[in-house]
């Protein structure tokens, strides 16, 4: 069975590779390369795979999942400038792909246990663009 929990955070970022010229960054990232950053209301959907526990009837304790998402994602990223305040985005370009993969790395170890595993991380940068990462 798949279980999905949603969380939101708002953050700013710049997509630019410091090793590249301004022109190349502009060509690759467009407006996302504007040097002082811009922001999004990110929406995160975390999907967990497992069978309901025969005693509790739950795949995963939703209260615990909420706490994990808060600790690993919302607290460190909400209302932050990802490039300056959230590791590893001081040296990794915070594209939606890279942010989704980092969220996976942060969550996988805390969610995986007997018969239960992280199945998918879906990160919406806007309502019209999202990335799925399945590890």
């Amino acid at each position: 069975m798949l279980l999905t929990r949603k969380a939101e955070f708002s953050a700013s970022h710049v997509c630019a590779n410091p090793a590249w010229t301004e022109e190349r960054n502009r060509a690759v990232y467009g407006l996302n390369a504007n040097p002082n950053g811009h922001g999004h209301n990110y929406v995160l959907e975390v999907t967990i795979e497992g069978e309901p526990d025969p005693v509790t009837g739950m795949v995963f304790d939703l209260r615990e999942l909420k706490e994990i998402l808060n600790e690993e994602v919302v607290e460190p990223m909400d209302h932050r400038f990802l490039n300056r305040e959230v590791s590893p985005f001081d040296c990794v370009v915070p594209t939606t792909e890279n942010v989704a993969m980092e969220i996976w790395r942060r969550l996988a170890g805390r969610i995986g246990r007997d018969g239960v595993k992280l199945h998918n991380v879906r990160l919406y940068e806007t309502g019209d663009l999202f990335v799925d990462y399945e590890g």
Partner: protein, 136 residues
Amino acid sequence: MKVRLTKRYRFSASHRLDTPALSADENRKLYGKCNNPYGHGHDYVLDVTVAGTPDESGQIVGREALDQLVRERVLGRFDHHNLNTDIAELAGVVPTTESLAVTIEKALASNWPLRARLDRVRISETERNIFELEAK
């Protein structure tokens, strides 16, 4: 490591559902209001999903490259057009959203120029009717 990226696009088009294989009465019974003689329109929502691994830019696909492809092959041809009369691939085809999904998938997949592969298209005619097709 597989990453999928989905971008949402919109276009508005008109159509009429009517098949020459059936009588006028049968068409009306089968397609209901969608068979009304002068056609009607929808604001279609198209989700295009591509899959791949991020390149040195940290992206699996350049946003502008994907937008340009979808603009050229779909939006520029379908937006504010009549699906029955204006789209060559739909000539003689009942332009259901199923047919539209197949046509759009083919238009995108043919000579696909991007590094990331086309994974699927998902198209909704209204918020209540959604069709999804995995790319071949």
